[in-house]
């Protein structure tokens, strides 16, 4: 394992202020490490990778890593990513968003990116809360959970991000957690190489804004919870059925080969240019 940490440091922008802004024990740092390892394992040059981020703690990832990076506006990261991929399909475009970013303000862009099957990887860091702005409830906050804006427990059902992306037409859909780092490396690298729209939802603990309000004494407790309350989807008898014990399935939920929008577009372009010649 000797080179794991050195490798990550090789990809960081050391002219930025470190340690990074994430709170102690925040899952977002682990996801950043996993993303770097995945890109490195694929042998992709840094310049072939574009990291497009929204606003939120999750969006800060784009500041620290030495790929091509765009720190966009809240909820609109996928629109920038779509433009980049259409303009230069050779780039590997990875779009990092929080749950608030991807599902609340940006929910419309998410379903349409999935429907179009644009060749972008959406990395959705789900901490079930608006972390950066002080812990307001998001559309991924589980029903009954406490947030700053739901002090008696949320009355609304949370989105199941994986289910929603599957229904909207994404051709690769997976869920991992910040605790299962080795699995997460695999999920992210498969997603990056996937031709169409790929979604990796990551359960990524926010001890500061979500954990404290929901009976987790500290960050470690949140990771212990992830360890005992998740189940590998391949071990389930019926992967389409939610486990009765309430555990959260993790793994790959859909992986089908369908050409991305950019491929279909360039196919059409070739055809029309051939006709005109």
């Amino acid at each position: 394992m000797a080179d794991v940490t050195q490798l990550i440091h090789d990809y960081l922008r050391h002219n930025k202020k470190f340690p990074h802004v994430f709170c102690a024990g925040c899952g977002h740092g682990i996801v950043l490490g996993s993303l770097i390892r995945s890109v490195h394992a694929l042998g992709l040059p840094k310049d072939d990778v574009v990291l497009v981020a929204g606003i939120g703690c999750s969006g800060r990832m784009a500041v620290y890593v030495d790929f091509n990076t765009v720190h966009t506006t809240h909820g609109r990261a996928l629109t920038f990513a779509t433009g980049i991929k259409m303009a230069n399909p050779k780039l590997k475009v990875i779009c990092v968003m929080g749950d608030g970013d991807a599902l609340s303000i940006g929910g419309n862009h998410l379903i349409h990116a999935a429907r179009r099957n644009i060749g972008v990887t959406a990395l959705i860091l789900n901490n079930h809360i608006y972390g950066m702005t002080g812990g307001q409830c998001s559309s991924a906050t589980p029903q009954g959970d406490i947030s700053m804006t739901t002090p008696f427990g949320s009355l609304e059902k949370a989105f199941d991000i994986a289910d929603m992306c599957k229904a909207a037409g994404a051709s690769y859909v997976a869920r991992g957690t910040s605790f299962h780092a080795i699995q997460l490396d695999r999920l992210i690298s498969t997603a990056i190489m996937h031709p169409g729209f790929s979604v990796v939802e990551v359960f990524s603990p926010c001890p500061t804004q979500y954990g404290r309000k929901n009976k987790f004494r500290n960050a470690v407790d949140m990771y212990k919870w992830l360890k005992s309350n998740t189940v590998k989807v391949e071990t389930l008898k019926d992967p389409d059925q939610k486990p009765a014990d309430g555990r959260i399935p993790i793994g790959v939920f859909r992986d089908v080969e369908e050409p991305g929008l950019e491929e279909r577009y360039f196919e059409l372009q070739r055809k029309l240019m051939g006709q005109n010649r």
């Binding site: 394992m1 794991v4 940490t5 050195q6 080795i182 960050a219």
Partner: protein, 108 residues
């Protein structure tokens, strides 16, 4: 991952980057680490390390590194200039020295 043999590694914590979240302390299967009086991770039983890699894969702040032992013993890591190690035991050329470029966005 390498064989589960004790005593083959140097466990290096970089205190300036460690935020004391306690993940490495809580999950290390060999109980190598403790939180010290400053709330930072500290190596207490290095010889027990089985090189499982958990701490390196999970430290949210990239503040811990497991390195093979060398005759001289590995030096304390400094992430800003690469790990400084007299023997450079990975056979790699010295890590590139990063000169701090002026930050175009001063709030970051």
């Amino acid at each position: 991952m390498s064989k589960k043999q004790k005593g083959q590694t140097r466990v290096c914590v970089y205190p300036d980057w460690c935020k004391g979240c306690g993940l490495c302390v809580a999950f290390c299967p060999a109980k190598v680490l403790v939180l010290n009086a400053f709330g930072k991770a500290e190596v207490a039983h290095e010889d027990e390390c089985i090189n499982c890699g958990f701490c390196e894969l999970h430290c949210p702040d990239f503040a811990i590194a497991i390195k093979p032992r060398t005759r001289n013993g590995a030096a304390q890591p400094d992430p800003r200039s690469g790990w400084s190690d007299p023997e450079n035991e990975h056979g790699r050329a010295s890590p590139p020295v990063r000169t701090a470029e002026p930050n175009p966005n001063p709030e970051e």
